[in-house]
Amino acid sequence: MLHKIRHACAGGSSVELPAEMPEFPHYSDPVEKFRQELERVGGVFLDGRRSEELAGALGLVLKESDSTEIYWEGEELFQRHGISFTLRDPEAFAKGSLLYSFHFRHRVQFPIVLNSKPAERSDLARISLSASGARFGVAETGTVVHEVKAGRGRLLSLLPPAHLVFLSERDLLMNQAMLFLSMPPGQGSALTLVTGPSRTSDIERTLVVGVHGPEKLFVILTS
């Protein structure tokens, strides 16, 4: 078959790759642009750059998603986003393939004390709120980039009806061109660009939010 394609190609004219990429937009206030774009597609932006704001932001996410617990994808998330936490059951984190949850009885307080609750994959379908960390954010489109790699998976951010993403300010890129230029050549098996909640316009071209993926998407910006 390749031979056939080679033969088909042979007679044609040769064209060079264009030398320069077209310009992509830059913004004086990328955080503000990101917020605008995320909100335009129905996502919720929360500023958690100051640690005293973080508790309030988390509390709001729980309230909005009508949840009392959040499933996290692992310890790394807390370290990366400077969320102070204490482990009540340190052994739990040694069990590689499981997920962890924290139950919020009253209001969110720091340091967060993790009650590890190992969850099997089959539990995923019942989870009402999950959280993950974004590898990148893109101001141009209000996009967060979910990277699948060691110890992480694809489904935690996709199956629950509400999802929370932590995005570090230093990972916020200006535009899509910067994203694809700075994307590490695939170490993990998947990278998903997420822009707002799941939606469809298949019925009379009317936009409706919440089909197969999360109906609610929260992004907390951390410093």
């Binding site: 190609c9 990429m21 597609v41 141009e140 695939g186 998947a190 990278l191 939606r199 009379e204 071209r205």
Partner: protein, 470 residues
């Protein structure tokens, strides 16, 4: 042989269809317009994309090989399928070996092109379309009528009625109810199916990344829950570098739905790694030719393979807006279908497609990769006429008429004389009498419109008498 003319009457007479088309495409401004006008360098992006595609197609074997190498490195497998049948056979064999009884599918026009669902059903494997529009189409036992919005031809009421009838949903006019019903039912399929089949929007040669664009999250689930993921890809979908994605995604998404970004862009690099929590254990990329290398071999027609399937040309096409997608009788519809159907098969197999266009150029105007669709249709018309007259034992009547016409138009004397005769005839028969002459050209015109009355004297006659007078 596919005949569009056989479907026109019923499409025009279908009042529901006409209402749906008009509401979706004519009466509401397309979101694309605003999404495009706010990009200051849109033309530059188009040129860039067109050049990247032209370059890639000129070196297709290299890029496909590079893609294959990278996919293999990541633990995936690559299958080369010369025909749709080969691709289908591979999927059937694999399903059989793995004992797969049910498949969840993401929207893929290529899957339609190779008639995969029919083959799966015959082999007692249940294909479940998971894109909402495709799900509706599958429930209705129809085919998609639009590349991007497969159920565009259906109204909310028709869809609600279908759900009531087929799924036992309580009657409702609420779109949210309809979607909740689909979500619930499909969630079950996602969690149990062992194979996911999707299309591919772009495949990056330098990294082996398969890119699939979507809004609902159904593709994300189809490539994450089942043990096996199969991606179907036309050989023309490869692009050289990751960075090109920034441009292609911007063009594709804005042109298709008017969004700046879809909810999800899935970039996939093979099966799950052993240290990842989930994802498919097996990943297969099927590279499908199915007539594409034949198009590639024609230096002019090659540009049709640059198409990124945004569907904008369908949205703006007045013919598509008037008859909808099904009337084309082919997998691909609208201007894209008019161009691609005879190219993928032959002008003999789809003799009317290239002619089912007023050549208004609206498609070329919106095409994000600048494919000159009207020009290609003209070339196809030329190809059709020359093949028709080569094959037949004698020249067609139309060809003879055209030859005669050309002779007249090359001879000013003959031309002027014929015009005079026609006017004399007109004086004798009158306008209505002219219309009754057994000339198909007249009768087809007269079916809907009056013929213009011939003036007593032509311009050249008036001119020469005025010259003589002065």
């Amino acid at each position: 042989m596919i005949k569009i003319s056989a479907n026109v009457q019923s499409a025009l007479a279908d009042e529901t269809l006409q209402g749906n088309l008009r509401r979706a495409l004519v009466d509401t401004p397309h979101p694309r317009d605003e999404a495009v006008s706010e990009v200051p360098n849109w033309e530059e992006l188009r040129r860039y994309a067109r050049d990247v595609k032209a370059h890639t197609l000129s070196r297709l074997p290299e890029y496909l090989q590079s893609l294959e190498e990278k996919v293999l490195e990541q633990g995936g497998k690559v299958i080369w399928a010369e025909t749709g049948q080969e691709a289908v056979q591979f999927i059937l064999d694999l399903s059989h070996r793995r004992g797969v009884r049910e498949v969840v599918k993401g929207k893929s026009m290529l899957s339609e092109e190779i008639h995969l669902n029919r083959a799966l059903e015959r082999a007692q494997i249940k294909p479940v379309e998971t894109d909402l529009g495709e799900y509706v189409i599958q429930l209705a036992g129809e085919k998609p009528s639009h590349l991007v919005a497969p159920a565009l031809h259906k109204s909310r009421k028709e869809i609600a009625d279908l759900f009531v009838q087929k799924l036992g949903m309580a009657p409702t006019g609420d779109v949210l109810e309809i979607i909740a019903t689909a979500r619930k039912l499909l969630r079950h399929h996602f969690l149990t199916a062992r194979m996911g089949i999707t299309g591919v929007n772009f495949a990056v040669a330098e990294t082996g990344t398969i890119v699939i664009v979507e809004n609902e999250g159904n593709v994300g689930l189809s490539v994450s829950v089942p043990e096996i993921h199969i991606a179907l890809m036309g050989i023309e979908k490869v692009i050289p570098r990751s960075r090109d994605l920034a441009v292609f995604l911007k063009l594709l998404i804005r042109s298709a739905t008017g969004q700046k970004m879809t909810s999800y862009v899935n970039c996939l690099n093979g099966p799950r790694r052993s240290d990842e929590l989930d994802g498919p254990q097996e990943f297969y990329l099927i590279l499908i030719d199915n007539g594409r290398s034949k198009i590639l071999a024609d230096d002019y027609m090659r540009q049709s393979l640059s198409c990124i399937r945004c569907g904008a040309c369908l949205d703006v096409c007045p013919v598509y807006q008037t008859i909808g997608g099904h009337a084309y009788g082919s997998t691909y519809q609208g201007p894209l279908g008019a161009m691609l159907t005879p190219l993928l098969t032959s002008v003999g197999e789809a003799p009317e497609h290239a002619f089912a266009s007023s050549l208004c150029g609206a498609c070329h105007e919106v095409c994000p990769v600048g494919i000159p669709i009207p020009q290609i249709l003209l070339k196809l018309r030329e190809r059709f006429q020359s093949e028709r007259n080569q094959k037949a034992a004698s020249l067609s009547l139309e060809k003879l008429a055209m030859q005669g016409w050309a002779r007249v138009m090359c001879s000013p004397i003959l031309y002027a004389r014929l015009g005079r005769w026609a006017r004399m005839l007109h004086t004798v028969l009158g306008k209505s009498g002219m219309g009754r002459l057994p000339i198909p050209l007249f009768s087809r015109w007269m079916k809907h419109r009056d013929l213009p009355a011939l003036p007593p004297r032509s311009f050249r006659e008036l001119y020469s008498s005025s010259q003589e007078a002065s």
